[in-house]
């Protein structure tokens, strides 16, 4: 087992970051003070500041006697003050441990306030390599509050990775809508828009994360989910869109893809030439699942890619197979102690990790990218932009400068 958790955050923060981006939803953190504080601070860079988060701040006596009363009171308070469309109780480690009866609380409240919509997500004590599960379980809890709506014939839905995707899926929405496909997106900036995913006949997840969400939609709302692949990189985006085109029998979408491939080909070739010159060996460790998508983009450009995946679900297994066969990517699933050990073993010249791993990578003067800064990585133009700017953003001269400084003044051998 690793000496530290190298994931982006815990699944509670991920749930909060996902739910906290949706207008109409108020997340309620059911947990002790440090949990609430750290989760708020940890997710602040991911959430619009005007969206509210609440907490129950359970104390010692709540732990002994149960925090259900406090939870009931807080839900009622929130509803009275803000009248949100949905309240999602994020059940953190401590209440999960003591086995709080959240269902019971919700049932009691619904008797008193019938119009109240409240649901909950269990995110506490998720085992290592499950941070991204926070998005998935929180979305399942949201889906549980949706009502049945009429299907829109010939419509499709795309289901994203995490809260940041809300309002950021234009790279995929535009070609789909141009092709005349009625497209519903999930997540979306408002809960009303998100709810319309149930009108879709077919659902195409665009990342490895939402396995449980898609399963829930299929089971409860009679949608049909099909995982094609992550639409990241040129080939990945094309195959994703062509997969939809085949399933939906939409020749127009094929034509759009043909046009896009022609448009991006010259720049792709430039990027590949540069990567061939510079020989990139990139290690990507446990992002918020984007270690897979960014790894896919970089591998397409010709880099050798080594990935420590953040998830283990069925979608992840499918994506892994595609990347191994298509690009020769290496997935590191065996246990390791530190990222430093991985560096010594795989000898990357670029690393993409989270902050807590950067402490280990920078002393080696290896250019280090931070996972959480590379999101919404879908479509042709993101890949081209990343590829064209890749060597600039590595800031190799700065690492070289510091290596020289430390050798000149800092006593480094």
């Amino acid at each position: 087992m690793a000496l530290k958790n190298y994931e982006h955050c815990c699944s509670t923060i991920q749930a909060l970051a996902s739910l906290g981006k949706i207008e109409g939803v108020i997340p309620l953190l059911h947990g002790p003070q440090p949990c609430s504080y750290q989760n708020q601070v940890g997710s602040m860079s991911c959430r619009p500041s005007q969206l509210l988060t609440a907490g129950t701040l359970i104390n010692k006596s709540d732990v002994i006697f149960g925090g259900e009363e406090g939870l009931k009171l807080q839900i009622a308070n929130i509803y009275k003050k803000y009248k949100p469309k949905v309240i999602v109780v994020i059940n953190t480690c401590v209440p999960q441990l003591i086995g709080e009866d959240i269902d019971g609380v919700i049932a009691e409240l619904k008797q008193k306030i019938p119009e109240l919509k409240v649901t909950y997500a269990q995110t506490g004590f998720n085992f290592p390599r499950s941070m991204v599960l926070g998005s998935d379980v929180s979305w399942v809890s949201i889906v549980e509050t949706f009502k049945h709506l009429d299907k829109t014939p010939g419509s499709i839905g795309i289901v994203g990775r995490a809260g940041q995707d809300a309002g950021n899926l234009a790279a995929l929405e535009i070609p789909l809508k141009k092709a005349g496909l009625n497209t519903f997106v999930f997540p979306a900036p408002h809960i009303d828009e998100m709810e319309r995913i149930v009108c879709a006949e077919h659902i195409y997840p665009i990342h490895v994360t939402p396995y449980l969400t898609c399963k829930k939609l299929d089971e409860e709302f009679n949608t049909e989910s099909r995982y094609i692949e992550i639409p990241a990189g040129i080939e990945g985006t094309s195959r994703f869109l062509r997969g939809i085109a085949d399933y939906e029998k939409c020749q127009k979408l094929h034509d759009i893809v043909d046009k896009e491939e022609k448009r991006v080909k010259p720049e792709l070739e430039n990027i590949r030439r540069e990567f061939a010159k510079q020989k990139v060996r990139m290690l990507l460790v446990s992002g918020p699942a984007n270690e897979v998508s960014i790894g896919k983009i970089i591998a397409e450009f010709g880099a050798e890619v080594f990935i420590v995946p953040a998830m283990k679900n069925k979608f992840m297994q499918q994506e892994k197979k595609i990347m191994e066969e298509r690009y020769g990517a290496t997935f590191i699933e065996e246990d390791f102690d530190t990222v430093e050990d991985l560096i010594q073993q795989y000898k990357p010249n670029v690393v993409q990790v989270e902050f807590q791993a950067q402490v280990e990578t920078v002393p080696y003067f290896i250019p280090t990218l931070i996972n959480m800064l590379y999101l919404c990585e879908y479509g042709y133009d993101y890949a081209l932009d990343l590829g064209s700017n890749f060597f600039r953003i590595l800031h190799r001269p700065i690492y070289e400068k510091w290596q020289l400084l430390m050798q000149t003044y800092g006593g480094l051998q």
Partner: protein
């Protein structure tokens, strides 16, 4: 017609928000703790200057001759003499007289009045009309030499810091940190010209082994050159100790000039620096940022900070406003070529020329 159009598009703008030589002289003067400064000026000039200083820096007293129109037209020497005698009654360690623009126009015989009053430690500063902030400070520093005498003996490993004045950006932190750095290599600060110093410290400035001009793109070089001539004190003005690389180089050079081995102390500092740089907020976040700097009144900071941000923090400097062509040239080396605009202000001949995607 074409020339008119070109002239119209390259508009000229009077810089009304840039401090002048008069501010420079006053800021240099009021920083001497136990001296008293008289601004030989009409009331309005005095009020603005004193309140401006109080807003920007520590409490300091500033006196004025409160000249009327009649005083200015008929000669203000009498008023100056009265004011001087009153101020001297408070027993200051020195009296510093700074003349205002209206007095400079009429060329009052300030020196004559000072001679008549007969107080030995009187410093007279006549800032040049139309002069820059730096020129005012330089004039003040040069006049402060009038109370100094050549030293019989130099103090080993003692340096003067030249440049900090009241209302200089960050001067207190700069002086504090530079003193700390110097003491880490066994160097003592003999005097600071001039913020926070005393008259006694200024008088012993000639005893230093080395002068350090810490704001060379703003002021200080003239007085350093003069002190080399008068008091045989060498000076260092070619390294700005901003950023880790230049701070190390600065200490190293001082060590070489004073025959001190600074390696161990510098290694210690760099170990701390490396720990800092490895933290979350530096490489990972700084690399995603760009910086726009507006430090027209502090050209040295602009040069030092822009180089530090670009070369050591990996940030793009996309704009930098300075008021010295020399500083502008230095900053040009680190500007991002595609997006940089450089606004260079030359004295009163000031013009703003937006560049179309390249440095100008």
């Amino acid at each position: 017609m074409k020339e008119n159009l070109q002239a119209a598009t390259q508009f000229r703008m009077q810089e009304i928000h840039t401090p002048s030589a008069f501010e420079g002289a006053l800021w240099a003067a009021v920083g001497v703790k136990d001296a008293r400064t008289i601004f030989h000026a009409p009331p309005g000039c005095y009020i603005n200057q004193h309140v401006n200083i109080l807003i920007n820096d520590w409490t300091t007293e500033l006196y004025s001759t409160n000249l009327s129109y009649a005083n200015v037209m008929q000669g203000a020497e009498e008023k100056l003499e009265v004011t001087m005698r009153k101020v001297l009654a408070k027993k200051p360690a020195a009296v510093i007289i700074v003349t205002a623009p209206s007095v400079e126009v009429t060329r009052d015989d300030v020196e004559g009045v000072a001679h008549k009053v007969g107080f030995r430690d009187t410093i007279i500063i006549r800032p040049p009309i139309g002069g820059t902030l730096g020129e005012g400070k330089d004039e003040a520093f040069l006049q402060m030499l009038s109370i100094m005498k050549p030293a019989k003996k130099k103090i080993k490993n003692a340096v003067n810091i030249i440049g900090p004045t009241f209302s200089t950006f960050n001067w207190q932190a700069d002086v504090f940190e530079l003193k700390r750095m110097l003491s880490s290599i066994g160097v003592k600060v003999n005097a600071v010209m001039s913020a926070g110093s005393t008259v006694a410290e200024l008088k012993k400035a000639p005893q230093a082994a080395l002068n350090l001009c810490i704001y060379p793109y703003d002021c200080g070089q003239k007085v350093a050159k003069e002190m080399q001539k008068r008091f045989d004190i060498p000076y260092l003005d070619d390294i700005i100790p901003i950023g880790f690389e230049n701070s190390s180089a600065w200490l190293q050079k001082i060590g070489r000039l004073l025959n001190i081995d600074a390696a161990a102390a510098i290694k210690n500092e760099m170990t701390n620096a490396w720990e800092f740089v490895r933290s979350n907020m530096v490489f990972s976040v700084a690399f995603e940022m760009s910086a726009a700097l507006s430090l027209e009144n502090n050209n040295t900071h602009a040069v030092g900070i822009s180089r530090f941000l670009k070369n050591e923090m990996g940030m793009d400097v996309v704009m930098c406003a300075v008021s010295s062509p020399a500083a502008g040239e230095k900053i040009r080396e680190v500007c991002t070529p595609k997006t940089a605009r450089l606004w260079a202000l030359w004295a009163q001949n000031i013009w703003c020329r937006p560049s179309s995607m390249k440095c100008t």
